[in-house]
Symmetry: D3
Subunit: 245 residues, 6 copies
Amino acid sequence: MSGCVIQVINPNTSREMTETIGSAARRAAHAGTEIRAVCASHGAPSIEGHVDEAIAALGVLEQIRQGKAQGVHGHVIACFGDPGLLAARELAAAPVVGIAEAAMHMATLVATRFSIVTTLPRTLVIARHLLHQYGFERHCAALHAIDLPVLALEDGQGVAQQKVREQCIQAKQQDGSGAIVLGCGGMADLAGELTRELEIPVIDGVSAAVKLVESLVGMGLTTSKHGDLDYPLPKPLTGPFSQLR
Amino acid sequence: MSGCVIQVINPNTSREMTETIGSAARRAAHAGTEIRAVCASHGAPSIEGHVDEAIAALGVLEQIRQGKAQGVHGHVIACFGDPGLLAARELAAAPVVGIAEAAMHMATLVATRFSIVTTLPRTLVIARHLLHQYGFERHCAALHAIDLPVLALEDGQGVAQQKVREQCIQAKQQDGSGAIVLGCGGMADLAGELTRELEIPVIDGVSAAVKLVESLVGMGLTTSKHGDLDYPLPKPLTGPFSQLR
Amino acid sequence: MSGCVIQVINPNTSREMTETIGSAARRAAHAGTEIRAVCASHGAPSIEGHVDEAIAALGVLEQIRQGKAQGVHGHVIACFGDPGLLAARELAAAPVVGIAEAAMHMATLVATRFSIVTTLPRTLVIARHLLHQYGFERHCAALHAIDLPVLALEDGQGVAQQKVREQCIQAKQQDGSGAIVLGCGGMADLAGELTRELEIPVIDGVSAAVKLVESLVGMGLTTSKHGDLDYPLPKPLTGPFSQLR
Amino acid sequence: MSGCVIQVINPNTSREMTETIGSAARRAAHAGTEIRAVCASHGAPSIEGHVDEAIAALGVLEQIRQGKAQGVHGHVIACFGDPGLLAARELAAAPVVGIAEAAMHMATLVATRFSIVTTLPRTLVIARHLLHQYGFERHCAALHAIDLPVLALEDGQGVAQQKVREQCIQAKQQDGSGAIVLGCGGMADLAGELTRELEIPVIDGVSAAVKLVESLVGMGLTTSKHGDLDYPLPKPLTGPFSQLR
Amino acid sequence: MSGCVIQVINPNTSREMTETIGSAARRAAHAGTEIRAVCASHGAPSIEGHVDEAIAALGVLEQIRQGKAQGVHGHVIACFGDPGLLAARELAAAPVVGIAEAAMHMATLVATRFSIVTTLPRTLVIARHLLHQYGFERHCAALHAIDLPVLALEDGQGVAQQKVREQCIQAKQQDGSGAIVLGCGGMADLAGELTRELEIPVIDGVSAAVKLVESLVGMGLTTSKHGDLDYPLPKPLTGPFSQLR
Amino acid sequence: MSGCVIQVINPNTSREMTETIGSAARRAAHAGTEIRAVCASHGAPSIEGHVDEAIAALGVLEQIRQGKAQGVHGHVIACFGDPGLLAARELAAAPVVGIAEAAMHMATLVATRFSIVTTLPRTLVIARHLLHQYGFERHCAALHAIDLPVLALEDGQGVAQQKVREQCIQAKQQDGSGAIVLGCGGMADLAGELTRELEIPVIDGVSAAVKLVESLVGMGLTTSKHGDLDYPLPKPLTGPFSQLR
């Protein structure tokens, strides 16, 4: 994989979370892979609902365009709602993988069912929709929310991390699941430790997505340009969107 | 319904299509309903893929915010992909209805299965995802594309309209469907005529959405603010998104 | 909608419930809409199971035939099991809408998931089958039964109404739903008050169905006569069924 | 199974078809089983749509009540739409099996997928709904209609029978199915011959239902009276329905 | 059914369980049916996971081959996971029915939903997969495990039997199911007694499968050899598999 | 990934195919990954049906046990039916990935829908069952069979390869899919060339599975031993199965 460059896009504007995500991505990446962790130049500091997601999608597209111009070999969308995923695939030439799909795919490879632990209850609907869209509805035994906002994961106090740990323990005991998916990019650094402590695979989507992009690159596969993921039709975009193509 | 004001949002920037949509909305509306047809101030002139949809979603939100400030009683998203629908519901206080969902709901009330006739083949995936999300997958017998871009419907030549008619005839003969859903806001003015000529319900989503918004308003129902469609959490938005809240 | 006549059919023989339903229908209807609330001339005083539903279907057909002869513009089947719905659509020229489907459709427009509150536990299976048939299985988070018979809603004591209220509160707190669907025509008069008190959309199917029929009429749509909802084939019917055609 | 009495209910009023069905039932039954083939005392001469089905359901209930009074050990509903099935189960103490479900269940035991050959295209929707309700949607590869009315099977000319044969041959060649389900009680006498000629299991629901009822009786199983199939609540029924309980 | 010979294959090597299963099969069979209860000549003494199932499938195939050579009229696979079912159908000329599918099919004929009571929690995934494969996912309200190994049913102490009884009572009270499916061949002798005591159909798959095989034989139906269940292609098998064809 | 050893198990006994598979695996693997391509010591020379699959599952387990003893870091099951997958996961400590699931997962990352091209029509049912089990039913637009046996891919004449190419071209033109999944381990060497020639991602499961195993190893994830994939319970296995544990 030497010389492989993967752009890891944090769709929100939080620098701390971009750091967390970038570190996790680098830990997961091969020695020869370069990780370029970026975040949306504008948007929301955290993604906790549908409006945030709509904004995030534009941030993702802006970064995809830049990464494409730089010739990166693949892109990761590092927010658990996979905002803008299909749009990003349209725009990109290289593979694009979202962290929610990545974590879910990986979970189905090591367990017959998994649980999800995420942040605010209001984001559960997003995870539920993704499960349905990706075909993993029956593979998910239960969804849990720690009921703290995303940025609580970055406040340095560890309360959110402790709640994640508690929810993981509860999920292991109650759900009949064989694996746990962490439902937020900001939890990326917890997976390894929790996997070891709880003795159950605890899966971080950032790492998963980096590995899947590396895998696609290694197989010589890029986003299909035959059919409905072909490049967007050229058309005059106006206002803040004018630089999108 | 006297005094009811419905904002009909064309998520693209085409004035002609906004006219077509506005006219169809007015024809469908009650005497006492005021239709305010608007379009995105910035974005793409037509919505024919996932990138266009991501852009359109922002245009929708911008208009929802303005309509909300004006105190409208309901909003219609007049693009067959229902771009930004859940985000719009989060942002809005009043009901929000997309024209794709509206047409599909209505179709299930007059037939056991329906067919969809849309524009470019690359947009079929969007319709398919909506059918799946709304629960109408089994109620749709087939999807057809006229293989012309959206704006061909506004070029004044009638070629696209003729192709829509041909596809509707074919759908009626082959699909075993009892109704046809027109899969583009720009086809809004064709429904009545085709319904009469083909003797099968041909459903325009713009009219359908206007009637559904009037219905919700008449029932005193607004978008639920309990749970995952509650207003977005307040957070500092930057750049072009800063005026969104 | 001036001059629109909607026949609201209570499929059971209870006069009190026909009153309740008729009142709710009139409150929901436009000024120009005339509501003709009728009930089955023969049958069961309440519909609480499959046998009751089979009987109710015939009462519905009898009334559809009469309404059609009177030239009404639309029909509502005002029992939460939507008994005889497809048969009624076959027989009718005008649109026919059931109150269960109507309430469920409306609920999906204002919330991502809804709960149902109905009467006896034995009727839950009927609601479950309808959710499955209409495609709304995933949109329903939970079903609740007050465990009182339908006619308890008409005994003037208010115990049943109080139980409905309690179940709605419980549903709001526990189900993660954004809206509540009232699962019985006899609850039609409770929706407005509960919506206001509980601050969550509580949806009555009678109102919803009236609005949907008005909407279809306003769009010029009638039940499809192309395909499997075409008028019944003429054939010699005997006994109590002889007057059905 | 000695002494076992099975009531085979033809839900329409055609004597010829009752004969066809009764004969098929007797051929399928054990030596010790007595078949009582009856038909609705009133109703329609054939069942080819939703109105016919609603009427048929009442005929079924009337006969179930009589069979129950006679102490039969089980009931078969011998019309491919299984009209009134759940209502019949409510009313009956003994097992009740419909011929559509019976044929479908059996088909899944001898092949990975089956095709259905039925009469009029307008009845396909009924078969499709049953597949969905019973869970066999994915087990059915295709549905075929001979486009002749049910009673053409009883006109003694053999044209309908020939069309059934042709559709079975076509289904075998094109659908990738391993078995064929005959979609009408009036086709009951064709299964054996077609099975031998076409060298593929061709399944008649009448025989299948008789065997399933014998099986349930043999296992000492009766319709569950715990929960939603419990006997109907006692209530004053009026008019033609007054004798139903 | 006189002269009908059914081979009942216990896929594990436990003689006691083969006895239990054989007795249940004989009680369920017609007077004229001969039951040949056999077990795998080699393999595992109980089937409690995927590896056990893979081993059991070979034991099943070995016995199918022998039964076929003896000219039996049908085969039953008497382990609740239905191990090797489709492979057995490929190999066999006669009908093959698994006890899990048999019990589930029968349950849907007497109740709208059923519960399953099985042995170890780790086998629940197998039952869940079967429900999904057979199309009965929605017909199963809940799954229960007594948390004792299969062979506890054969230790003569009755503790396992008592736990089965307790779980059945709990299922009846809590699940809203109308029937209970016993999820282990070793529970075959409990069904009758529990059905009587709990007043709810408690279904044993061994009896159910015997009746279904008798039914198929009585209808003259055998496993389809048209398409994907045709006999295996002849090919040189080596090692312990060499005698399989 | 230096020092990573992946056992690639060809579940049939064909040396040629083991070579083809091993070569493809090596081409896909990282420089630091060692591929150990093995095949079942006994069994069938090709897997083309359910009996072959049942036999193959045992061959897989035998090799998993050996690979585990050797301390490999992961296992690939290189047959498109993923025979014995869950059993292998039970037995293994390391990750286990099947080539069918691997190819399907990867396909969903580069296209909205994919087509499958496999060998004999009789194996289509296996692919269909896997799509259903993995949740990818809706992501697969169509299945194609070249109608040649698996070993035709190893006869050195290229006829089978040409047929694969033709079916891929047809799939690209007709199915509306954005990617093609090759449905046989013996096609592993064709993916790269077809991807380049047809300008659509053509995905080989062997490469995909190797990359997924490398990914899981890189993430520190192993098969979950919490719950239903825990090691098999210790029990006395007899006959050819005695060495399995």
